[in-house]
Symmetry: C2
Subunit: 778 residues, 2 copies
Amino acid sequence: EQEDPAEPDPEETSFPGCQTHLARVVALHIKCPPGVLQDLELAAIFVSDAQYNRNICFEASPAVVRLYLLYNHWVAKVLLYLFILVNLSLAFFEEPAVVALPTWATMLVELLCLLVFTLRLVHYARVIPRDKFWKDPKNICIIVILLLTLVDMMVYGALTASGCKAVRWSRVLRPLLLVNVTEGRQLRRAFRSIRNALPQIFYVFLLFIFSLLIFSLMALKLLGKRDLKTLEGEPYFTNYLSIVFDLYVLVTTANSPDVMMPAYNFSFVFAIFFIVYILVNTYIFMSVFLAVVYNTYKKHLKEEVRQLVRAKRQKMSRAFLVLQEQAQEGGEPVVTQASWNQLVRMVRPDISDPHRLLLWSVLDSSSQGRIGKAAFVQLADLLNIEVITLKSRPHPLQSLCPALYQSAPSRLLRRLVQHRAFVVLYDLIILVNAVFIGLDEDNPLIAHSEWVFLALYLLEILLKLYVFEPRAFFSRHSFWNWFDTIIVVSALVATVVNSALQSSGGYTSRQILDIVFILRVLRLIRVVDSIKRFRTIINTLIRIGPAILTFGQLIIVVYYVFAVVGMELFKDKVRFFEADSSDPAKAYCGNALLRGTAFAHFNYCKNNFNNIVSSFVLLVELTVVNQCSGFAAVTHASARLFFILFHIVVVIIIINIFVAFVLEAFFVEYSFEKSDLLTSLERKIKELELAAPQEEMDGGLVNAMETMDNELGSGPSDGAGPAPPHLMFKIASKRYRTVDALLQRMFESDLDPEDLDESSDPEAQSSPSFSNPSFSSA
Amino acid sequence: EQEDPAEPDPEETSFPGCQTHLARVVALHIKCPPGVLQDLELAAIFVSDAQYNRNICFEASPAVVRLYLLYNHWVAKVLLYLFILVNLSLAFFEEPAVVALPTWATMLVELLCLLVFTLRLVHYARVIPRDKFWKDPKNICIIVILLLTLVDMMVYGALTASGCKAVRWSRVLRPLLLVNVTEGRQLRRAFRSIRNALPQIFYVFLLFIFSLLIFSLMALKLLGKRDLKTLEGEPYFTNYLSIVFDLYVLVTTANSPDVMMPAYNFSFVFAIFFIVYILVNTYIFMSVFLAVVYNTYKKHLKEEVRQLVRAKRQKMSRAFLVLQEQAQEGGEPVVTQASWNQLVRMVRPDISDPHRLLLWSVLDSSSQGRIGKAAFVQLADLLNIEVITLKSRPHPLQSLCPALYQSAPSRLLRRLVQHRAFVVLYDLIILVNAVFIGLDEDNPLIAHSEWVFLALYLLEILLKLYVFEPRAFFSRHSFWNWFDTIIVVSALVATVVNSALQSSGGYTSRQILDIVFILRVLRLIRVVDSIKRFRTIINTLIRIGPAILTFGQLIIVVYYVFAVVGMELFKDKVRFFEADSSDPAKAYCGNALLRGTAFAHFNYCKNNFNNIVSSFVLLVELTVVNQCSGFAAVTHASARLFFILFHIVVVIIIINIFVAFVLEAFFVEYSFEKSDLLTSLERKIKELELAAPQEEMDGGLVNAMETMDNELGSGPSDGAGPAPPHLMFKIASKRYRTVDALLQRMFESDLDPEDLDESSDPEAQSSPSFSNPSFSSA
């Protein structure tokens, strides 16, 4: 069963191929007069590329390096995504439109978008060598998409001008840009996961279809001649193809138990047939699909992560080559602390000096003032470990008014707020609030109670701000503090606005009231953070959040394609009438073919393809349960193929890959072992006595800071014991700066360490000139 | 997150505790005069217990050993399961009955069953030591079940005699017997898996419920005041509890998209609410449930398998102690080939002499005529590897009429039948047959074609029987040969009977025709075996079949309990009227409360709890989609709790464990590495040149035999080359004799080898007297 190994993304593997090219880069750089092309700048680019797993091969001339930096600038990326978004959202304004705009307007915007994409591509072409550019399929894809779109726009313009009916078919290509831009690496990886799983899925799918056909044939023979009728009075199970379709839908559980009722009503022996069918096709085959998807997903992702890690080490080796110096005659090349400091300052200007010192002391464990290649290579991973710097600043009030802040009542208050009971008290308040929210808000007592709760929540925030240093309270990682404050302040503003409106003219804005309600209910979520068991689950979910967003993009790409096709196929076949409409066509969604169908009976008229928003909502519904008989009724039985295809792509493939991903991420959490690097960083932090107290390590940050504040805040005032350092570090051990880091973490235990070590060596063999110390730039 | 380790089944761990007791067994046995308690008999019991993982502590007196053998006799077990089945099937005849029997009759049968169970328990109590018996919760369970049932029967008898209404509540206890009998080990393990997963599931479930409550509160606030109406004209989302229920059902996807339609029709902004809800609660939470269940399932099963393996080795060590002899003065104790042969002949009388010799040569790899303990302990695992003995008997026709059988036309025919094209030809015939089946059988041409196909299939079997040795063709492992022959012969008989009936009186029996149709369609399945990719998937499914049956038992236990409770709660609330009934109550299932509901509209009247069969069918439907609004309508809103409970137990817990099991089993298949023992057995087979040809090793057995027959059948006639051996072996490497062997295989790679080695040693330390050679029974 050995599949051919993962065919990797050219981008992912371009690095080894880039070797000879990079040899030129470094050679050129060495030949250049110093100052024209800064060593450090080049090294910093290599490190930054390694850190974010960028694999772009760039020319080494100073101009290109400038262009490359510009290409990677966040503004350029944001602009690109903005224009992709604009391009995608054109579907709102094109026929069938949510808000109709004239064709020339949307065409003009689209042309602008195409221009931006072309510019970006040209920019890319200027950065990377020409031969690399043309070998990369994603560039070819973009060019083809742009050209096809242009052709389609011209054809469409010409046809509509001459009064013919035309279809803007190139709209299905738009989401593919999202996949093919340089930044869409995660999305491309997801697509590759799917492509790799396809052969395995295909065979299971064939077997599944075979089973479906056999069961359908049996159903036809057993039930076709019994003159049974469906609920709508149609003949039951007499047409082979419609039996196949009905039984396929049964797998999605959408028409259970309706499809079996006529047979079951006739005799309960037939229930056995359906039970066996459900067991085999719904439970066993769907589990096998999940197993196959999960298995290939895991296998190929592991291979990709291995390549990623290898490419990362190679880039770090190159950075080392640029910076290396000869410490002793004939010794191993090293990088000195001075140049390393400059490098890190360039790569991550936001890192504080003590933090940088900490990183250095992890790498230079024997304090020699220089590090070898093996240690240097770890820098990229080290930079990806998020270290939280806790500054033990004194509270501003202490500086302003120490007498008051250190007075007995103030200290008592601070002790009270930091006590566990304070948290419990506010959890109780939240629960009482939940009950009040549930009660009828027209009761004036209830309406006024809202002000009390708002005041209580505000008081909580103010008390906490009194006790904790404000900048620490609002640090970047204090998710729940930010959450609380934003929710409470927004609720306050919305409530005040609402009351002002109400008292001024007795007028209540429904929208503002809705927002107030939502904010009130959201406030209740905070209670989850108090229960440790919940916190771990929630934290895992938050942690895999960015990766889930990749699936979100994937789903949007697929939905968009299906929505555009669906709109062309089914637009205006089903019409929705507002509740106050008195049109008799309302009873059958404006299409006489729907008269008496379940679709019309359930008033599903708004489930249509009449614009992009309805299409997306309908596609979500189809993902949950595949109900599409209405659309087959208004067009043709073959319309069902569209829905079956959608089910195969979204439910059988994408949802299973999503489940596989969540499963794997949870297993990593459950079997959590820290990586070696993480442990050595933690050890170093402890060694240097810079660690934030451990006991609440996995607790919320607020708790950790409380403890710290306890010790630090009161320490100096007592004047006893050694003065604590002004800075403390804490590793946000379970946070990952990038999705790649999460993936690397997921497969770390499976990666062969020799396999990785080997990766940093071979370039020494393949291009031995690099390891020649005479090339060192010192 | 460290859970307390798996609390193992006392039966599983009884063995270590049984140590002192077994010391007595062996001591006693050594004291007994030889012949009273045969060494070999005792050793054979130990080996057999190890092989089937039986962990029963028995007294060592000859009488008890006889009783123990009787207890484990297959007739006793079959009888026990027969009576359990009878006891369970009483539900067919008790009120509400499928076939009503008088109460005294069912009570009498139940009393008989109770008597049998009591006898079996007394038998068990006689076998194992008294203190062990009372310490085992499963015995206590059985006693409690029996007593409660007796009490219930008496109370019920008294109450009905005095005309009061009585409930036979003890019926829910019946399926628990299936779990608590000694033989229900697999089922108990499945229940333990569930119990172990419960704490983890519980916290995720709480979080899920919290999310459900928060979303419901938001829905109430956003939608409750908008005066929306459901399809039935009821107020929409105004009652908090019914919102909670509706949103819970949405997780099961049963009421999607109906539950969101009123809000969506009002404004499509509300669709966002439902989409977020579905994303969070249906997709993310359900994946997390699967992850949690899978994770704990894997963890605890691994621990249990480790204990099983340990207990097995201990039992083998005991068998060794009984048989050991002193080869040299001061040397390690050994077992001689002679006593080993006697032992294996006792344990597995069905094993042929060459096969036994093969096993011996695997264990005694250095051909010393004796084996040490380490080798001896492997015997139990070795016996569990299924070795297929292929006897190269000459074809009977060759013996009877060699001239004809070896003639040129006969050899050509045999070559043709063995050719790949023969298989392809019959695959094509099957496909043509499939088309003919699909066509209308009332057409006389089609009807007559059936005879042609039947003749073709018969011809195929006869040809194969001509070519292959019949006993090899119908060997125990030739699944598809058996399948073919049974299907074709049955179809022939049924078709003949049908035509006879038709021609005699023009009367067609619908039942016989149905059977004919089913057999015809089943015949098509054979085509799957011709495609290698399909065969691997199917083989995996067949292999995990026995373990799936364990889940089948589990499901039946749970269904039975829910069915009995459901019958008490909902019997006769909904009535089903036959299609030809003209009762006006038919339109609302005989219950006025259902007038106008969707339940009545869809004619779900037969989905009721009026007897055990309907209940089971309904529970299957509820497993697929949880639609229960009808039952809440005819009784009370709180009836929904019954259905929610069912969903939690069956879908969230059991189906997830089932999926986890299938996933794990498939991963084992995909990452198949043969165990050490298997490899050494295979190597030995090859070394001894007894291997059946390898090239078709993973192919169907028919192919393997064809190849073999090619070489063997024609070999002697040519008279050239060395005469091949008369026996060949082939390892059915992927078949497992017991579920335990499959489980052991699944976790083999994760089991720590030292951990296992250790297990066979400690008894040497804990009871050093055993390793004293002076105790050897030689």
